[in-house]
Symmetry: C2
Subunit: 249 residues, 2 copies
């Protein structure tokens, strides 16, 4: 369904929240010259793999629209979801160190992305001082996302994990129109594989949070009724600044 070269107005609009915007604009807006610029936009269909573990072609990607997940498979075939990547966020940064991807990236929906070859990033960073500094900040900011995941997984109670997951997603998706509501781009099973819980436990926890009047769930759409109490269940500090969940550079 996704066109190989997406609508130009859609692209321009989706550049606003992109963490690579400054990087991209520095070398020339990709939507102006899709073929030759550093950031090359394209699309993948829901369910398609963007790259797999062991792929040699190290590339970094920025999500424009849609949503992606990165997964790793254990020796016994179990799937671990290492992260969800929403519009404006990056993925594939693991290949910066070695040039090889160590996870698989799958599209949760039809998704528009921009592609950046690692070699291009490294060489251009070398020739452009402020660009390199900017990349360091982007990378550090991305590492914080992983840190948040660890912090989440170290919580023992299922409700804490689910609450923190929702609260984090609420911040990242940015409450669009006043009301703090959001649409989950992933299945319960994927949430479970991200939280280290069985999908049934995720479902039960969601209904429990709904019974406590913290949220309102209907399929994949979630409305947050009491943001403060949700943060309380997630065991996050009252002061929203200074602590985790603040990685948007």
């Amino acid at each position: 369904m996704a066109a190989p070269v997406p609508d130009i107005t859609l692209l321009r609009r989706s550049c606003a929240p992109c963490t690579l915007r400054q990087f991209c604009q520095h070398v020339g807006l990709p939507q102006r010259t899709p073929g030759s610029a550093l950031g090359k936009p394209f699309g993948v269909n829901r369910g398609d793999s963007l790259f797999r573990a062991g792929d040699q072609h190290g590339r970094v990607y920025a999500v424009r629209t849609g949503a992606m997940k990165t997964v790793a498979v254990t020796a016994d075939g179990e799937e671990h979801v290492l992260g969800f990547h929403l519009p404006g966020e990056l993925l594939g940064l693991d290949s910066l160190a070695t040039g090889v991807h160590c996870a698989e990236a799958v599209a949760l929906a039809d998704t528009q992305l921009c592609e950046f070859p690692v070699q291009g990033i490294l060489s251009r960073s070398a020739s452009s001082p402020e660009l390199g500094a900017r990349m360091l900040q982007v990378l550090g900011s991305s590492a914080l996302g992983c840190r948040v995941h660890v912090d989440l997984l170290l919580r023992r109670q299922a409700d804490e994990r689910v609450a923190m997951f929702l609260y984090d997603l609420l911040l990242r998706l940015g409450r669009r129109d006043g009301q703090p509501s959001l649409t989950l781009p992933m299945s319960r099973e994927d949430v479970g594989r991200y939280l280290g819980l069985a999908l049934e436990t995720v479902s039960r926890s969601l209904t429990r949070l709904q019974e406590d009047a913290l949220i309102e769930v209907s399929g994949r759409s979630v409305r947050v009724l009491d943001e403060d109490r949700l943060r309380g269940v997630a065991m996050l500090p009252d002061t929203p600044s200074g602590s985790p969940l603040e990685r948007q550079a």
Copy 2:
């Protein structure tokens, strides 16, 4: 007990495995000019805090000798161990993005470190092309460490987590003299807070692995008897290359 300016031969020896070596040597060996160089060596005593969550002075540190841990505290006062930092490894990279530390760093033993101001890293990276590229690799490599932690925490069984923890530590400490043995620099409680398990569970799991003749435990010294089976319990792929636990750039 730790001297403010450590032994010069000790420093030179500890530079070999340091991931910041190329960075450090590029701007001048710190042990040559301790005061003026970018990397400034110093020591902290066991139990001391190197920095705390919220500290404004963004600095990156490299461990020379000893061991550090980074911890975060939840709203209910529980301590989460986000990582252990062994000789040759970095800590404080979270401050690269915002300039503010979002965790506390505590010395597990008397420890020698090198200190790098973030501003110095950013500005020197800007003026030196290959240095910036090298820093990107260092940062990406560090992010992999966090990814390994997530991958570990997504394993449900306590034995899997403990086995993977030991196997990872074995690779990082590098089996010194032929025999694959290691000395844990942290308490069972810290291990538990890193693995998301109660300290009693860690202890039980260790004895279980010992009963199965996978390891030999005596206090904090662990000898790995069957490396392959240990990797099997950890649910890590047979092929040691291509998958996690490979972050030494």
